[in-house]
């Protein structure tokens, strides 16, 4: 079955695509830290951040609709965490409501923080979309390895990338098999079936893991994880790094 990959647009070609994965990874990290550390009310700094990330997204030739759609994915999580802040933060009351027995009030300070959290999350997710959509996961992992991330973690991530779709296929086949045999039944019964399916999926993955390990042993896998190909920084990485750093630092200095 075909699945759209995490790094769907990574085989386009643009200035951003040609950068070394490490440059992009570090730049994203710096961007995120800079966004997170910007004071709450500093809207001009956020505007600059937005301009920066949008122009990079445009340079990378990513379809705007795709970027917007992907960026919405995190909002449920952000809202789940932040939605209560306006009710809990003390300050000037913006509105007061009676819900059944409770009286709740929303404060301006709270609303400001909510908006702030949402904007920060959105900016961060933009930069992550930029990173993940312009870098092949394989290259990103290679970059991370060279940046000193432990090999075991890299190996786990690369196995995840390889097998997540095999698992999805397996789960889909199981669902089809269930649906073609299930004739109604209560909620509880359905839940029980779901539990069994998850259990089966777990055991299958476990057994697959064992076969994969045997297949690795067959080809001389020892205690050590070896690899080939080192990445190399290019001139373009240096220029991008300097330009990006300047924008971030100036945003901090000018708007602090």
């Amino acid at each position: 079955m075909k699945h759209s990959f995490i790094d769907k647009y990574s085989d386009l070609d643009s200035l951003i695509h040609r950068l070394d994965p490490r440059t992009k990874f570090i730049a994203s990290l710096v961007f995120i830290i800079s966004v997170v550390l910007t004071p709450t009310s500093n809207w001009r700094a956020f505007a600059l951040h937005l301009c920066l990330v949008t122009s990079l997204l445009i340079i990378a030739k990513l379809p705007p609709f795709y970027v917007l759609k992907r960026s919405l994915v995190i909002f449920p999580f952000v809202l789940l965490v932040a939605v209560f802040i306006p009710f809990l933060k003390p300050g000037e009351i913006a509105g007061s409501y009676n819900i059944w027995l409770w009286q709740v009030s929303v404060t301006y300070a709270g609303l400001l923080i909510l908006a702030n959290v949402a904007v920060k999350a959105w900016l961060c997710i933009f930069s992550l979309i930029l990173l993940s959509a312009t870098t092949k996961l394989v290259d990103l992992l290679k970059g991370l390895k060279q940046l000193g991330i432990p090999k075991v973690i890299i190996l786990i991530l690369s196995f995840m990338y390889r097998y997540i779709f095999v698992l999805v296929d397996e789960a889909m086949r199981m669902r089809q098999a269930r649906d073609s045999r299930s004739f109604g039944g209560g909620r509880l019964r359905q839940l029980k079936t779901l539990g069994n399916m998850i259990g089966t999926l777990f055991i299958r993955s476990y057994e697959r893991g064992e076969s994969i390990y045997a297949a690795m042993l067959c080809r001389g896998f020892g205690d050590e994880i070896r690899s080939l190909r080192q990445l190399g920084f290019k001139r373009i990485d240096a220029s991008f790094g300097v330009a990006f750093g300047l924008v971030i630092i100036s945003s901090a200095i000018i708007f602090w």
Binding site: S211, A214, G220, L228
Partner: protein, 246 residues
């Protein structure tokens, strides 16, 4: 004739105490390709996994004169290229290149050598140009060929294939047979697919319940319908009539 595999009195018990192989005695010579046939659960895969020491029973097996023991494992695993039945187990890397290069990298070859070996192995199975593809997006036939390339990159002297034609349509199956037939090294093939065995192997053994119950030339064994029936490899007479009823 050189003995390439020499197994004496091999027995194997699974961790749950169930006996997988009973007193296997088998010598394979360099002039022959061997087919291992038998019903499901006969112990075919278990036997194959002993050939490069992934499983180890009570007794030592010799491959190319080398005992399959701890200190020789690296050497025997290079010489014996084992291809698993499910290519999704065999192909675990994000790209085809990484998978085919996995063995040579573990053997400590230089970058240039690794690249040459990968290119050569992919060419042997007719899959050159697939280096940067992701294994997940290949067809089963393509995956099977790449799986074979992953062991060819180690220049094995014995190629061991477990059910190479399972899940393949006839066209992919025959093109795989063609690819395997062209490969110069010795082969041991476990399968149910008698067409494939006729095309590739001179000698056949039947394994049933962990015991070798027949051993002989492929033509003799595959023409002995009574023998095949006794071990569930050919349909009973009354079942053959089902075909005529249609």
């Amino acid at each position: 004739m050189d003995k390439i595999v020499d197994i004496e009195n091999l027995s194997f018990f699974y961790p749950d105490g169930h006996q997988g192989l009973k007193d296997i005695n088998l010598v394979v010579y360099s002039a022959e390709n061997l087919a291992v046939i038998g019903p499901n659960g006969a112990g075919k895969s278990t036997l194959l996994l002993h050939l490069n020491g992934i499983l180890r029973g009570n007794n030592t097996i010799k491959v190319f004169g080398l005992p399959v023991e701890e200190e020789n494992l690296k050497e025997t695993r290079r010489k014996v290229g084992l291809v698993f039945q499910d290519p999704d187990d065999q192909l675990f890397s994000p790209t085809v290149f990484d998978d085919v290069a996995f063995g040579p990298i573990n053997m400590g070859y230089s970058e240039l050598q690794v690249k040459q070996r990968v290119a050569q192995a992919l060419k042997l199975v007719g899959m050159d140009g697939y280096e940067q593809r992701s294994p997940h997006h290949l067809s089963v036939g393509e995956k099977k060929r790449i799986a074979i390339a992953t062991v060819l990159s180690l220049n094995p002297e014995l190629l061991v294939l477990d059910e190479p034609s399972s899940n393949l349509d006839p066209r992919s199956k025959w093109s795989l047979i063609e690819v395997v037939k062209r490969l110069p090294m010795n082969k041991i093939i476990a399968a149910h697919d008698l067409e494939l065995i006729r095309a590739l192997c001179q000698r056949t053994i039947i394994l049933d319940g962990g015991i070798i119950v027949a051993d002989g030339s492929t033509t003799n064994i595959l023409n002995d319908v009574t023998l095949l029936r006794a071990h569930g490899l050919a349909p009973e007479e009354k079942l053959l009539k089902l075909q005529a009823d249609i």
